[in-house]
Every structure is written in C-alpha cells, then in structure tokens.
Subunit: 402 residues, 2 copies
C-alpha cells in the first residue's frame, strides 16, 4: 500500500514536555463574581473595605461602656439606665453615655460610646433599668470593624480556584467583578465519512460520533468553551479549510480521527502545513496515532479516532496541556490496589490500562481500543511506565479513579 509508517515514535514523557513547553499560558479577563464559580484567580484580590464594615455585637444583650460594669458581681450588682434598643441594620443616633446601656441584638451595629456587649444572661431588667451581675472587659462580645478583613489587604493568590467559600468572601467585600484566567476556547471536529452525528438515523456501515461527546464533555467539565463543528468531510481541502477557519477564534483546534496511517489520514500533513508539527505518533498504548502542531500561539491536536484511545489521551496529554494553559489543577483521585492478574507491557511504550476495582483488586478490563465500553465499565486506570515490562499478579498499583 506504499505508506510510510510512523517512524520512530516519541515517548510520552518527551511528547508531554514538548506539548507543555509550547502550550501558551492564557491571559486574564474580568468576570462578574456571580459567574466566577470554578474560575482560576489571576492574582491576589484587593479588598477595598473593612469586613465587617462596622463594629457590631457578637451576642444578644446590652451595649455598655465596660468601665461601668467594673466591680459588678452576682452578690453586688450595678445599675445601668436602659436608653434604647438597636437591631441589625439600624444605626442609632443615640450614644451610650456614662451609666447607660442600650439593648442590642447579635449583629447589630454597636452604638457610639459602647465598647462591649453584656450578655443578657448576666443581667436582670427592671423597668427602665438593668441590673448588671458581671464585670466585663472592653472589647468583650464586640466585633471590631475590619476584624475579619482590613480594608487595603489582599487575599488569596494566583491559581486559586474559586469555590463557594471564596466567592462568599468576594461578595462580603462588595466586589462585583474578579480578574480570572481566561478559559480555553476549543474547537472540536471529527473526520471520517463513516461518522454520523449523534441522533442521526443509523445507516449501514456508519458509526456515531462518540468523540465529540466524550472529548467535548471532558473539556466542558474542565471549564473550556467548546464549539463542536461535528463531522467534517473526509477530504484534505475541506479539513484544511475547517482547521484554518477554526484557528481564528480558538486556542486549541482538536480533531479526532484521521491521524492514523490509513487512506485519507492526511491530517498530520495538513497540521504541518498550518504550523510546526511537534510530534506525530507517540509510544503509548492505546493512543499511538496522536499528533500535535503549534500554529502561532495556537495548538492543533490530532486525536485518535478510536474512542478509548481518544479519551485515554485526553487524560494523559490534553489534561496536562489544559492545566498549563489555564493555571488550574485538576484534583486527581488515586487508590491503591493489588493487580488481579499479571500484565505484560512493552519496554519503551507507556500503557494506559483501564481497570475495574473488585474487593481491593485492580482487574484489567481493556477490550481493545475500538471498544467504547472499555472505559465506561472501568473505575479508573493504571499507568504502566515505559520502562516496565511486566506488572506481576498481586503487585500493588496506584489506580487513578475516573
């Protein structure tokens, strides 16, 4: 058939290093706090106001001048005049003068003059007076303005992923917008005349486009903006045109199919025409027919057509690239397990081995890279490094959970 082979395959570590050193770090943008969940901070956040913004009571009771309680005890109570009450959200004109107190609820602004809150349990109300049964110190049950966050301070740092507890702080500080790393824009397309879009009527010899779903949903879950062009006609001109046009507004153009060596597998050639081909063919199993090119500051990724290979390469190649570009680290969950049976591997080739966990044992479930069920029935995968020839039955392995 007269085709050139892949030639010498690149090792996974070399391919990743090349990908990571060429992948651009995305810039930043300002987004409303209400849309910032899951986004990655561009840098520390400057807080412009005191939080809380005013001194307030930490307890229900009476706002007092602490010195007016000095000497009070269960056996010799002191008397204070009750001159008002204050609830949350209300600012009193009236100050607390010598010998006076003001009834206060938790969270209400401390009236001027008061420097402590006497708990209701330590008092007894008698008409317009209260009896004070306890001596308290200045500052007691008194939350100072700025005690949680002082105006002018900065919080968090670059790379922090914004979760509900961070967003709460931004809201408390009155921020409306926050500077975050830009999300990667990815354009997806598939090649292959046998490929149908999901939901199209099935025809003989045709198969559904699985990769746009598995890759697309994985990218969205990472936080990327994904535009799916669907199936592009399996013809060199059409594919080149689609990639060129996609490069205009994408950070990554990702193709699936067409990077193997069969008829119509012209994608790597097009990639080399549109940019610099960094690799084509990596020493991994499955997932060998994978290609990466750099076009200006954009990446073109040629992913394998086989669904298991496309998704396994998402984990081992694409995810690290996205982490670099976005500054966001995915939380990876690992568990330790004993290998249920002996597994052979080829020296010089990294193996992605899907496994199911059964009673603490890792059971290999690889059904071939053309099987779409392999990953769906697996609980995670074991990474067999390239210098490993055999993983013995009973050996302890680290399983990355899906």
């Amino acid at each position: 058939m007269g085709k050139a082979g892949f030639g010498k395959l690149m090792s996974l570590s070399e391919a990743k290093e090349l990908a990571l050193s060429n992948a651009p770090e995305l810039g930043t943008e300002s987004v409303p706090v209400s849309e910032a969940m899951g986004r990655v901070l561009a840098g520390p956040v400057s807080i412009g106001i005191d939080v809380p913004h005013f001194a307030k009571a930490a307890m229900d009771g009476f706002a007092v001048r602490a010195q007016d309680t000095f000497g009070a005890s269960e056996t010799s109570p002191l008397r204070l005049r009750l001159v008002g009450h204050v609830t949350p959200g209300v600012i009193l004109e009236r100050a607390v003068g010598p010998g006076e107190c003001i009834e206060i609820s938790t969270g209400a602004p401390m009236p001027r003059g008061a420097d402590a809150t006497l708990m209701v349990e330590n008092t007894e109300t008698q008409g317009e007076e209260i009896l004070v049964y306890k001596t308290i110190a200045p500052g007691q049950n008194f939350i100072k303005a700025g005690s949680d966050i002082a105006a002018g301070s900065s919080l968090f740092g670059a790379g922090e992923e914004l979760r509900p507890r961070h967003l709460g702080v931004l809201v408390a500080a009155g921020l409306r917008e926050v500077e975050v790393r830009r999300a990667a824009r990815v354009v997806l397309m598939s090649t292959g005349d046998e490929i149908l879009s999901p939901g199209e009527p099935l025809a003989p010899g045709k198969i559904y486009n699985i990769n746009s779903t598995t890759l697309g949903e994985s990218l969205r879950a990472f936080g990327c903006h994904v535009r799916d062009l669907g199936v592009v006609r399996d013809e060199s001109g059409a594919v080149k045109e689609a990639i060129s046009s996609a490069l205009e507004d994408a950070d990554i153009v990702m193709l699936s199919g067409g990077s193997s060596l069969g008829r119509g597998d012209f994608v790597p050639e097009i990639m080399a025409e549109l940019g610099t081909l960094l690799f084509h063919g990596i020493a991994v199993k499955p997932g060998k027919p994978t290609a990466l090119a750099l076009a200006g500051s954009k990446l073109i990724l040629g992913m394998p057509g086989y669904p298991t290979s496309a998704l396994s390469n998402y984990y081992i190649i694409v995810e690290p690239i996205l982490e670099k570009m976005s500054g966001r680290k995915v939380r990876k969950n690992y568990t330790s397990a004993r290998m249920k049976r002996k597994v052979l591997s080829t020296v010089g080739r990294y193996q992605f081995l899907p496994v199911k966990l059964e009673e603490g044992a890792a059971v290999p479930v690889m059904r071939g890279s053309s099987s779409i069920t392999t990953l769906a029935i697996a609980d995670g995968f074991v990474e067999i490094e390239e210098n490993v020839e055999v993983v013995e039955k009973g050996a302890t392995v680290s399983v990355r959970l899906f």
Copy 2:
C-alpha cells in the same frame, strides 16, 4: 428579654437520621443525552442496537476467507485475486469469493464472504493479485457486530453518575434520551433587614448577603436547580408568604438567618405552622440554630445566618439530604494529618473544625462563626464527634478536603 432558649438540642446523628428518613427520593425524568452530563441514571439503560452495528476490520489489510490462506507461509506464499477495496462508511455490493480478496481499511465494513483481515505486513501486492505470506484463522482482525454491546442487553445501573465515558456509550448506541433522577429544585431566601444583595451600594450597618452565594453555588455544583429570591423583608407575614409560595414549585425551601433566638427570629414558628418541625437547634459547633420542617413531601430548611455556620451545615446536613434525594454520591476527599495543637470540644456536641494543612499538620483556623474568611483560608475540616472531649496535639486526624 423573656425568650425561650433552644431547650434540649438534638444531636447531629439524630438530626441527620430524622432528615434522611423524611427527605423524599426524587422521581425520574427523560433528558437528551447531550444534556445528561453529571446526571444520575434512574436504572439500567437498554441498548436497542448492536455496537458495532456491523462487522468491521480491526486492521488495514485485505478482507479474505481465512480458509484461502491455510498453508501460506513466508517460504510458500499463496495467491489471491484483488477484486476491490473498501473504506469506512462504504458498503460493497461485491462479496469475497473463493480465491479472492478485497483491500480494506481499519473500521471499514467487512465485505460479505470474508471472515478475517490479513494484515498488509503479511502480503505483497503484484498488480491484480496479492501474495499471502501467512496463514490466518477465521475471525482474525475481524470485529463482530455486537461484540462491544449486543442489541437487547442493558448497561450500567441505577445511581450511576453519567460521565463522558458513559455518555459516549449512549451516543454509540444511538440513544437520544436517557432516564435520570430529577434534580432537586431549591428556592433560596435570606431574612434580615441588615442584608444587602451582592453589588448593592454599601450602607452603614448593612452587610452583604453571603449565604445566597455560598449556599447557592454549592447547591448548583451539586446539580440542583436554584432559584434565589434574595432578601425577604424581616417580618413574619412576608416570610410566611414567601415560603408558602416557594413550596409550590420547590423540593427544598432554604432560608438563611432568622432561626436563632433574637428579635425577629420567627422562622421556626412559621416552619411549624407550614409543616411538621422535625428539629430546631442541633448540638453542633458552629451551626446550632438550624431547623428542619417537613411540609407534605417538601423540606423547609432554616439555616444559620452566620456564613461559616451556614456553609459548614451545608456539608454536614444539606449534602447528605441531597444525596438521599438525588441518588448521587459526592466524592469526598480525605487526607490524614497530625493535629498541630490541642483542641478542646464539648462532650455531647459535634464540632466542625476548619483546618489549614501545613507540612502534613492540620492547623485549626476557626475565627468564629461570624468570620467569612474562616472557610476560605481553610483547606478542609476535621469532624470532632460528639463523644470526644479533646483532640491532643499530634493526634492523627482525618481531614475532609474542600
């Protein structure tokens, strides 16, 4: 001030048990596969077609009748007539007859008559003939129809959370819709005249509504449909009206603020009027002023107003309720650490202790439940069970990571 206290507080375990035994399991609904990411399967999925739908080649090479290769070897090749070629997506009329072969690409439908694919490496093409250098068996490099999934089989099971690898299978099987558990509809509201909506201009004595963000984003991240009513006027009639109206289309009505015992804390009374009050006041620190009522099959949850308490109770009370209702289990990440300093707790009271991880040590960072920064600077929390009085410095604790 003449107020009743909480009376005897309910233990967390009792409160959770009561909540879980009363929380309804939500029903199911059909959603498009393209919108099913993260949803929870209602039950096994029935597959109506064979996957793959047709027999195909696993390799580039020649589709042959295996018997025609019997006896072929490097030293005594056999000859076959090359009568056509087939690529993916194409159905050939022509069958492979005795002594014939058809060139085939990986993934292309096997022509009728052929029962194996001879790899191109084991052949040599000479004009209209090929030389066969290897004997192969029927079924070799031949992917049978239905070998991945047989029509009529069912896959997965109730409670499976749909991830990209599952959605790929649904697409491959030609499914357009999938039956999933319904997502919980939650209506959020906050009470308190001192509360401003995020982004409103700050006024003296006022604070921003933090809980609608922290609770709302946590609920959304779980997969709930959240409708946020914002701040409801701190008046019994207005709050009762808002809850009644929200109950019409919510599974859970969640209030924050107003369940403590200060002035205007009438929420538990209203909850008791609209349903059965299951508890009010739980023996946890922070988060004591928490109330739950059952109104028909709906829940009314009164959460503390303090932001740390509201969010800590999300983890210890609300999340288990959502898990029960939705059938979805949250992946909880734990790490083991040594406690950096001695921590005292009260017997009979569960303590939620936020900690920061520093060089393998868990450093308590609790700044009081009114502090909004406490959880934001923490990496996770330690749960101090109610029967524990002291956690010694250096003790090994399990930290649930945020």
